[in-house]
Amino acid sequence: MELSIENGRLIDPANGIDEIADIHVSGSRIKAVGTPSTGFAPQRTIDAAGRYVLPGIVDLCVRLREPGEEHKATIQSETRSAASGGITSVVCPPDTLPVIDTPGMVHMIHDRAEAAGFADVHPLGALTVGLKGTQLTDMATLSDAGCVGVSNALESVENTLLMRRAMQYASTYGIPVFLTPCDPWLQGNGVVHEGVISTQLGLPAVPEAAETVGIARDIALVETSGAAAHFDLISCERSVFRLSEARQRQLPITASVAIHHLLCSESDIGEFNTQFKVMPPLRTQRDREGLIQGLASGDISAICSDHQPHSMDAKLAPFSEAATGIAGLDTLLTLAWSLVRSDQLDAKTVIAALTANPARIAGLECGDLAAGKAADLLIFDPDIKWTLDDSTMISRGRNSPWFGRELHGKVVLTVKDGSIVWES
């Protein structure tokens, strides 16, 4: 299809564009930004006046629940949720059932995502067999099969020697290692940040040191192994300090943060509100501000949803026993935009952290609007007010602290490879 989107404010950080401009799509590709070549006759022209036209979002941490937990959600249901939020590429951790540690699993996920047609799904391969932390996977084979990196998901690799070898081995083939830094002993059975809230509510706590000790170890291993590492789900300010030092030494390290850590803190848990139960836990207001500062400085370069869909019932349990995580695909851009609206971050930083930066981290050829690139883009209306509820939430998950609340700003159209995959 040939499509023109006119009069929108086009923000494309990778190409330094932030202006009112038209964009033209031909087939699966972007034809031109500005004036198309003569003879271009679009079948459809969309007026995006007063709206933003942005590259399709690349989300680095998304649980689709398939294979293994299809009762919660499927690749079909969650990539449709992604499309509704303007997300056109997702990276999924390997902690599916079974674990993504064979090429067959990678092919199956690719096939099912393609059949659904809403978004590209890029699996991470397991770093160790079964994520058990004892034996390396066939990383090179997994990479050849299409994994964009390797990861041990939320399972810690306790054995530091094995972690070092995993990094050395991955670096042989230039495979990026995705890490969620955490010392498992310090994390223990904790469910909230160690601080005022854990003390008041009497809940088992995860100290900040669980993350800072983990990140210090892993940075030391990166420094000597030559592996390229991506740290996801950074939750505390002191981790940002470690990242900043690593960046000054020009280590091949990148980092991302989940949107809820930019918006919420431990005090949001109130009286045991399990919708705010996430891992790593929500930390202090100072940490929240430190993470925002980390994005502004570039020490953290990507924002993800950390999408973890659950049924409504999964959160109806005492806090320690309630399910962990937020279903966040539907609301990622809306919530991220609230940081722009409240002047906590500028639009360019937020959009880059949702598009070009995560694309680069995952080695993907997307995340920008240059002519010739795959036409993955979205139109965002910052003025629409809507309520996240049963009728509007596209993910099959119902676990969101924002469920039932009025939100400001909404994706109205998503284009994936030149096809409109979402329109509201």
Binding site: V196, G202, L203, A205, G270, E271, P318, F319, E321
Partner: protein, 327 residues
């Protein structure tokens, strides 16, 4: 986009107390009101006919997912003296992934027209969860949830202090032992602060003191000598032996030498200081037998007062219900 979620579950929309889940956030008048009514119930147990018809026709379910003898028994006696019908449920609870969920159990019992649940569970927040998923007319009393709160215990402790001591604004109180795992300590701290105690100290090794404990309005002291100086009330906590695996305290001996309440340690406090303990006592671990049984100990008074205070709390919650029904 800040989401406020700290609405107190235990109040109804008009600010009346609907459940008794935590001391936190209760007005001082509510606490003194409960203590005053409890006072009128205290001689009641000595009467020949120990019943008043305040809860006649009401059904109270003691739902204990965690074993308890003394708390459950005093709740049962309290409810029966108010003429309620009482059912004791000692339920084994699987983790959420297996078996019936805690809410399913509660909803099943509620369907049998229960008017009040007295709930104990190993998980912090269990009573809040139950209270926020029951119909409006059903009352919930928290009989201990994880490490979070044990508000009726704190109330009977306050009652016992008031029996023996001057007004709260003139009292210095020390709480000694495993604060980290103690729901009793958390509720005591809230109650003492609300009632105006000018100084509350917590004493114990750092491994047993929660991070940021100062934010609850207490001062930390690392030794008994300084900690008990000028103290009017000593509240000992139970050390759970099974928890002390050599990582929180090195040995029972070293603990007792540093933090056990012995005759010698008691001399650091004011000469008329009283000694309290929520029970059950580990003699020779947190407290010496001679102190537990000595003339400064009010430990058995605490047990006795438990019935009157729990009657008062039940009456308080049911009274609110009657009012709203007839208004």
């Amino acid at each position: 986009m800040n989401v406020r979620t700290d609405f107190p579950v235990q109040f109804d929309q008009n600010g009346n107390l609907r459940h008794f889940l935590t001391i936190k956030g209760l007005p001082a008048e509510t606490l003194t009101g409960i203590l005053d009514i409890a006072h009128s119930f205290i001689d009641f147990g000595k009467r020949e006919i120990k019943k008043i018809p305040l809860m006649r026709g009401k059904t109270v379910v003691n739902l204990f997912f965690e074993p308890s003898t003394r708390t459950r028994t005093t709740f049962e006696i309290a409810a029966k003296r108010l003429s309620a019908d009482v059912v004791n449920m000692n339920a084994e609870r699987m983790s959420t992934t297996k078996g019936e969920s805690i809410l399913d159990t509660v909803r099943t019992l509620e369907a049998m027209h229960t008017d009040m649940f007295v709930v104990r569970d190993r998980e912090s927040g269990a009573a809040h969860l139950i209270a926020s998923h029951l119909p409006e007319h059903v009352r919930v009393i928290n009989a201990g949830d994880g490490r979070h709160a044990h508000p009726t215990q704190a109330m009977l402790d306050m009652f016992t202090i008031r029996q023996h001591k001057a007004e709260f604004p003139s009292l210095r109180v020390a709480i000694v032992g495993d604060i980290l795992h103690s729901r009793v300590a958390r509720s005591q701290i809230h109650a003492l602060n609300i009632l105006g105690a000018p100084e509350i100290r917590v004493i114990g090794p750092r491994t047993l003191i929660p991070t940021d404990i100062e934010t609850m309005g207490v001062t930390y002291v690392n030794n008994m000598k300084n900690g008990l100086e000028d103290i009017d009330v000593i509240m000992m906590l139970r050390i759970q032996r099974e928890r002390m695996d050599g990582q929180l305290i090195p040995s029972e001996q070293e603990y007792f030498n540093r933090y056990g309440l012995t005759e010698e340690a008691l001399r650091f406090a004011r000469p008329d200081a009283i000694v309290m303990h929520p029970g059950p006592i580990n003699r020779g671990l947190e407290i010496a037998s001679s102190v537990a049984d000595g003339n400064r100990s009010v430990i058995l008074d605490q047990v006795t007062n438990g019935i009157a205070v729990r009657m008062s709390i039940m009456a308080h919650l049911m009274g609110g219900q009657e009012k709203s029904k007839w208004n």
